[in-house]
């Protein structure tokens, strides 16, 4: 009887010791992992992971930190231009987090490249790149833990919003200021200033009405052909019909437009205006009346033909428009 109780106690002790050791080991491993990750993170804001490390640090359970993984293909031979853009945005986000005030060991940004870890892609049954995934601190990734790139896009702000939704850590995206616009503007000013300086003895060209006229008309043409819409909405240049392979330059509905289409319209507008100016200048031209006549008729031709073309483009977009001029 006594031997039995002794045995029980021994077993109990052993069990307790084992469990203790186990938890200690677990804690150790967790601490080690966090420590290791922090160390990597000090060197780089995005941690590159390969197969084993990915399994160890991201997939295996003892974690108290969230991991955002971008699965991508950055090798140049893959020719994935989207991946590059996504990578830039991701880099901005990771840097914003790395150098922010609330930077802690609760969130890590990592990257898995296809060519370094094909097995990961295979095990997760991924055949597209880039993919953004979130591995939460507890449990397995759920439905919302994969970012829907098609809908949300991968702008750093959108990524930050998604990260905030999934982890409750708000990352304030800090974009390194884009100096290219400023530099271009400064260059332009420098060029204009230089031009003025070199030509300081002869500033007559500033009084040249033709150049001012062309500049103003260019602005007007750009605006009336909807370039601002292009700038804000960013439509495609043109559309290829996937079934027939035919190119469409003109958007089918009156609500949208392609970039190519706006150039066509701008050209048509310009031609009508040039026609009008020819009509008016024909009279002032010196020379024999035959030339005048030709110029005025050419002007009229420009006005009528290009205007009817414009009208027919409009007709093709605006269903049910009843009028046409010269052409259908």
């Amino acid at each position: 009887m006594a031997a039995y109780s002794l045995f029980t106690a021994l077993v109990g002790f052993l069990v307790i010791a084992y469990v203790c050791a186990q938890t200690k080991k677990k804690e150790d491993s967790l601490g080690d992992k966090v420590h290791q990750l922090m160390e990597w993170n000090n060197k780089k804001s995005i941690i590159r992971l390969k197969g084993d490390k990915f399994r160890q640090y991201v997939k295996s359970p003892p974690r108290n930190y969230s991991v955002i993984v971008m699965l991508t293909a950055l090798q140049p031979q893959r020719g994935c231009s989207v991946c590059k853009q996504a990578n830039d945005e991701y880099q901005i986000l990771a840097n914003s987090w790395r150098y922010s005030q609330q930077y802690s060991n609760r969130l890590f940004f990592t990257l898995v490249d296809y060519d370094e870890a094909v097995d990961i892609f295979q095990s997760m049954k991924l055949n597209t790149a880039p993919v953004f995934m979130h591995f939460p601190a507890k449990g397995k990734p759920k439905k919302g833990d994969t970012l829907d790139i098609n809908r949300v896009g991968f702008a750093a702000e959108q990524l930050a919003k998604w990260v905030g939704e999934r982890t409750d850590i708000q990352v304030r995206v800090f974009r390194p200021p884009n100096y290219s616009g400023t530099v271009a503007l400064a260059l332009l000013f420098a060029m204009v200033g230089g031009l003025l300086y070199f030509k300081r003895n002869n500033l007559e060209f500033l009084y040249n009405k033709t150049s001012w006229g062309i500049v103003s008309l260019a602005i007007i043409f750009a605006m009336t052909s909807g370039q601002m819409w292009n700038h804000i909405r960013g439509p495609p240049v043109m559309h290829r019909n996937p079934n027939t392979g035919q190119m469409h330059y003109i958007h089918g509905s009156s609500q949208g437009q392609f970039i190519m289409e706006t150039y066509i319209v701008m050209l048509l507008n310009t031609s009508v205006v040039v026609g009008f100016i020819m009509l008016n200048e024909a009279q002032n031209m010196k020379g024999d009346p035959g030339k005048k006549r030709i110029l005025s008729l050419v002007g009229l031709g420009c006005v009528t033909i290009f205007f009817s073309l414009l009208l027919s483009v409009f007709r093709s977009k605006y269903q049910g428009y009843p009028y046409s001029f010269l052409f259908k």
Binding site: R151, P289, Y323
Partner: protein, 783 residues
Amino acid sequence: MADTDLVVRQDIRSAMWNPGGWKSLLTFFILALAWLAGFSARLFAVIRFESIIHEFDPWFNYRATHYMVENGFYNFLNWFDDRAWYPLGRIVGGTVYPGLMVTSGSIHWFLNLLHIPVHIRDICVFLAPIFSGMTSMSVFLFTKEIWNPGAGLFAACFIAIVPGYISRSVAGSYDNEGIAIFALMFTYYLWIKAVKTGQVFWSICSALSYFYMVSAWGGYVFIINLVPLHVFVLLLMGRYSQRIYTSYTCFYIVGLVLSMQIPFVGFQPIRTSEHMAAAGVFALLNAYAFLRYIQNFLTKAEFRYFFIAAVTCAAAIVFVAVVGLTWAGYIAPWSGRFYSLWDTGYAKIHIPIIASVSEHQPTTWVSFFFDLHILVCAFPVGAWYCIKNVNDERVFVVLYAIFASYFAGVMVRLMLTLTPVVCVLAAIAFSKTFEVYLKDDSPKSSQKGGDENGDNKNDRLYDKVGNKKKIRDDKPKDDEGLGINVKSIIIVALLMMLMLFAVHCTWVTSSAYSSPSIVLASYGQGGSRTILDDFREAYYWLRQNTHDKARIMSWWDYGYQIAGMGNRTTLVDNNTWNNSHIALVGKAMSSNESAAYEIMRTLDVNYVLVIFGGVIGYSGDDINKFLWMVRIAEGEHPKDIREVDYFTPQGEFRVDSAGSKTLLNCLMYKLSYYRFGQLQLDFRSPAGFDRTRGVEIGNKNFDLTYLEEAYTTEHWLVRIYKVKDLENRKKLIHPHKPIIKSKRKSLRGGKKTGVIRNKSKVVKGRKPKAGSASSSRSSKSKK
């Protein structure tokens, strides 16, 4: 006596044959016809439907005008409207531009003074068409100052019928823009006049006209930026003169003081960045004038030194002052809508409520062409010739064209400010061309040319464009003209294009801009017309059948209409001043029924009104607007509402069975589709087939717990629900207890008969109390 008689007769004769007299008569007739044509072109809606106020904002303007006519101007200025923005209310007098109401109110007052009893509604309906005639007058005057009277007549005729302006001024569209465009063009005309003459009289006139514009429309900012810009560019071009100094200083000071008299504007002109350009140019102009004055007393070297020092000091002081005042909060930064004009991506990201309004979207080339037709191709020609033959006032019109086209490109709504200048410049282009080609330069065929002119006159009167007085004035010297054939061909071709323009304008007005949107019309196969009057039916139901103080919740689009036609209290309306309140309503619409009920209880909602177009295929209904409700709600309550939840995993917005669960159970969905699942519209489609979205709805059989259907209009377009009161006795719902447990309980309960817990048990033959127990014990011992 005979002498004087002769003189008088000669006077009459000379007057009869005086070309100036015929010119004025012709001008008068053409302008009168333009007015008439413009007025009649705007009456489509009245003829097709009835004399009714259109759309959304006009309903508020009408209600405010009505209030002003009944209660007087001062009560109107102090009006606190407790029927809007429940429970906040709205101070109406201080948050509207009163110009519109005052204009129609004073017309009403004047007509009543003459004992012409006109209802205020009719004045409101016909105000915009009448003002369109005045707009064409002022455009005529403006163009006359810029170019010549002939171009002015063209411009007046263009503006009378151009769709870009008709879109905001059809009969019944009782809105600020209707009178504001007149005020805008008239102010510009007076300003040009002031610059030309340099008289204080004209600049004070333009300041007064500017005051009228400020009282009428928020677009006055366009004037107060364009006029200083004109002055600034004139300075840069070295065209400074005494005239400009006089006109601008008078205009700016008087205009500033007057504009601050409007309660809604208040101190904005000296505190917001939009108005700072005017102040800056005022300072600059004065500094420049001062330097010019100083120059008289100094030598060249001294002046140069003085000039550099002065400029540096002034620049430093201004910069420090502006930065300091902005930092201290005296100068407000740019307001959102104006900011979105410059940084075009700003609104999309930061202000969903601005992005949700279709008027704030950028403009495609199609809408330019749709609204301006041939003018959009012709007006750069006018700009070209204005630059080629530049003078002080043409600088103005070129600047106007460039900036207005930029703004019109950014926002569809600002097409309205572009339209007048397009008319002016296109008129210059056409007038110039016609002048060249109608000139009769072959002496042989002078008779023939005259006939042709006559023909053209008819054409052009029909076409409402025309000028030909200049033509006969100067005879050409060279006989080597272009020849009559070429000229006639060109004239006929241009006239045909102008006729096409007139036809286009009429078609656009009739088909696109003349629906009141309160009353819908649908056309059957035989051309028969059915009127769908569901909106007014529903609003009238509200007016008749609900309590006077009942609160109606709907999306903000319908706030003004409910207040105007139903005369009931609304939570949010088209004056979108309080984003968080709108977001709360959006949250209620996009939450599930019980969560929505809590919000509705806190907001004291009695009725909920939704617009549902699934039965008749009306695309502007609440389900199609629903994503904006979600977005606006998400902006304020990101924890509770997420846009992602309303999409399918593929990122589609679907109402059929594949749609997301959150969508299929939210309040808006349920209110729109309640009982719709049982409705079969025709034999080809299944029951519950939504015609607007072309799908069979996903959640068909459901009941409403907290609301009940109160009224649905004939074509189901408007559905009104009553919010139930709290129940007297709450049903017991145990949502957190697992179902199995309760089953077991019920089983146990089923076996046993009723049990009362903690019941004191009665044992027969004994007294149950403690005292009695001791006594019984004692009695035992006795035994």
